[in-house]
């Protein structure tokens, strides 16, 4: 803790205040302009997507992308919802994503805790193993994984997706957690050990709550990746009943003709739940801070 130095600040600034606050205001105004501009850039895609989903194929091409749909094709949404099994795809996307996210975050926390808090010689190499695992390009693994799942009868089984997503997201999650774990002081845990707590208690009741902000962060990241994941679903799953939303989008990509409006509608439908989950989780990042900060 740094010293609390008392200092009389206010009186000497009484003459400078008006000038400073004016400059301040301009500075802030400019800042807000920039920030606001960037915000528009960031939210525009969502609005654009909405318009896109309401256009006919003809409007999608040829007309200015800024243009509003002339005759909103709400039918695109009906089409998206009723063609194929979108209800099933939706449900699958939800529970597969949630399962994989929870599994990943828990396993990653366990590993990061062990690597940063426990004493063992192999912690470096093991961490290295996870790091190197991040480097493999996705498509290199398709055929080997398919062969493995095929021989264990896990093809066309959502378990193959959950396990694959977890395995592929572990390196990333661990790396992010690692960065954060290093900033947490070890004194609390050391104190707990002296108090006679078991490792499990330390992990679950002290460390884990402390890391809620970063857990929310990685949960969001994992969630987005799993929700939008496509290649594995396409390769490992064949029955309609296990397919997810991302594959459902391809229902509208034809051999020679693509129904862009319906694709847009499907994209909008698929972004809603994840938007909601995101808004919910992103608050946790700040909440967790207030509740979980244990200092001093």
């Amino acid at each position: 803790m740094s010293e609390v130095r008392t200092q009389q600040v206010t009186p000497s600034l009484s003459t400078e205040k008006p000038k400073k606050s004016f400059l301040n205001k301009i500075g802030f105004g400019f800042l807000y302009l920039l920030l606001g501009g960037f915000a528009i850039v960031q939210i525009y895609p969502l609005i654009w997507l909405l318009f896109f989903s309401l256009k006919t194929n003809k409007e999608v091409f040829g007309m200015s992308p800024f243009s509003l749909p002339q005759d909103p094709q709400w039918g695109n949404y009906t089409k998206a919802w009723t063609s194929g099994n979108i209800g099933v795809y939706f449900f699958n996307s939800v529970w597969i994503t949630i399962s994989a996210v929870i599994l990943t975050v828990i396993l990653a926390s366990l590993v990061t805790f062990a690597v940063t808090r426990m004493n063992w010689k192999l912690s470096g190499p093991v961490l290295g193993l996870f790091l190197v695992a991040y480097m493999i390009p996705l498509h290199s693994t398709l055929i080997p994984l398919f062969k493995m799942y095929n021989s264990t009868n896990l093809t066309d089984n959502p378990l193959s997706l959950i396990l694959s997503y977890t395995a592929f997201n572990l390196p990333l999650t661990i790396m992010i957690l690692l960065g954060f774990y290093k900033t947490f002081p070890r004194e609390i845990e050391e104190a707990a050990v002296m108090d006679g707590c078991s490792v499990h208690r330390i992990f679950f009741q002290i460390t884990l709550p402390m890391t809620v902000p970063v857990l929310s962060t990685t949960a969001i990241i994992n969630m987005i990746y799993n929700w939008n994941e496509f290649v594995f679903v396409n390769t490992f799953i064949s029955s309609d009943k296990w397919k997810t939303l991302t594959v459902g989008i391809n229902n509208f990509v034809g051999q020679y003709l693509t129904d862009w409006g319906a694709i847009g509608a499907t994209l909008v439908i698929s972004i809603v739940p994840i938007l909601l989950a995101f808004l919910f989780l992103s608050d946790k990042i700040v909440e967790g801070m207030a509740a979980g900060s244990v200092k001093g």
């Binding site: 470096g124 994984l145 592929f168 962060t217």
Partner: protein, 292 residues
């Protein structure tokens, strides 16, 4: 106390499940990838062992090296963009009004799938009706570039959506890290008379340096193995002008029936990632860092 934290059983319990997962689902494929690289195989019929031929061809393959260069450029630009994201996060994490709402808005594009992003940006880059050229037209630009069709600039053009795609990702991480900085430290600094800039540079940044280094690693490796938008938006074209390692690998393995060679490219990608990661960690090393 030491013994509690050195309990081998607990360590094993905590690390084995995850380790097992990646050993089986990632390392076996890595091994197989290298193995297939030793074969002359079209992915359909019989494999024929040809030893290191593919790898030797790879080393001499001009297309491979140009795609490596492109991936490398992406890594550089991505890493540079981290500074921008950091700056934005610093602003968002400070207590200015509206930062909460802004934060949520800034992260929205992160939720979009590659399909949506690809569509959006292709509309932006369309040479005739696209948003960019329409805007340039308003400003009186006569012959605006044809973006994705121009081999000279396609690479830089395509970098924009790729880097933009990850804005949310990094801002999110930096934001969480910055929020992690204890309030008391900041308050104390304020009382000491530090202005916001000083607080940012001398207190916040050093305290999140661990996280920052992690993001550098993520940016570098992520860029080297990047695939999605390149494949969908340019196909690596025109004529290889925007080819990256992962798209080259995909083409050879899946489109051209050169699965053996494609696997070798994939393995080459891995090796290059290893080298770059080591280099990056050397460059960002600090005395008290845990070495990866």
């Amino acid at each position: 106390m030491k013994s509690v934290m050195s309990n081998k059983f607990v360590i094993a319990l905590y690390t084995l499940p995850a380790l097992l997962l990646i050993l089986v689902l990632i390392y076996i494929p890595i091994g197989l990838s290298g193995y297939y690289g030793l074969m002359d195989w079209d992915g359909i019929g019989e494999m024929k062992f040809i030893g290191l031929d593919n790898y030797i061809t790879l080393i001499q393959d001009k297309v491979f090296w140009s795609s490596t260069w492109h991936s490398f450029l992406l890594a550089i630009f991505s890493t540079a963009s981290l500074l921008l994201y950091l700056a934005i996060s610093l602003i968002l994490a400070s207590k200015i009004k509206g930062s909460d709402l802004l934060r949520k808005i800034y992260l929205i594009p992160m939720l979009l799938s590659s399909v949506a992003i690809a569509q959006l940006w292709m509309k932006i880059f369309d040479p005739t009706n696209g948003m960019l050229n329409t805007l340039l037209g308003y400003f009186g630009v006569e012959n605006p570039p044809i973006w994705l069709a121009d081999p000279e600039i396609v690479l830089y053009a395509i970098f924009i959506p790729i880097i933009w795609q990850f804005a949310g990702f990094y801002i999110l991480i930096y934001y969480a890290a910055l929020k992690n900085v204890p309030d008391e430290v900041i308050e104390a600094a304020k009382i000491d008379g530090a202005n916001p800039l000083q607080i940012a540079f001398k207190i916040k940044l050093p305290l999140i340096s661990g996280v920052f280094k992690v993001t550098i690693m993520l940016a570098v490796v992520g860029s080297l193995k990047y695939f999605d938008l390149i494949y969908v938006m340019t196909g690596g074209g025109p004529n290889g002008a925007s080819e990256v390692m992962a798209s080259y690998m995909y083409k050879e393995a899946f489109k051209l029936n050169n699965f053996g060679y494609g696997s070798a490219i994939g393995f080459g990608l891995l090796v290059i990632c290893l080298v770059m990661t080591w280099l990056t960690s050397q460059l960002t090393k600090s005395k008290d860092e845990v070495q990866f």
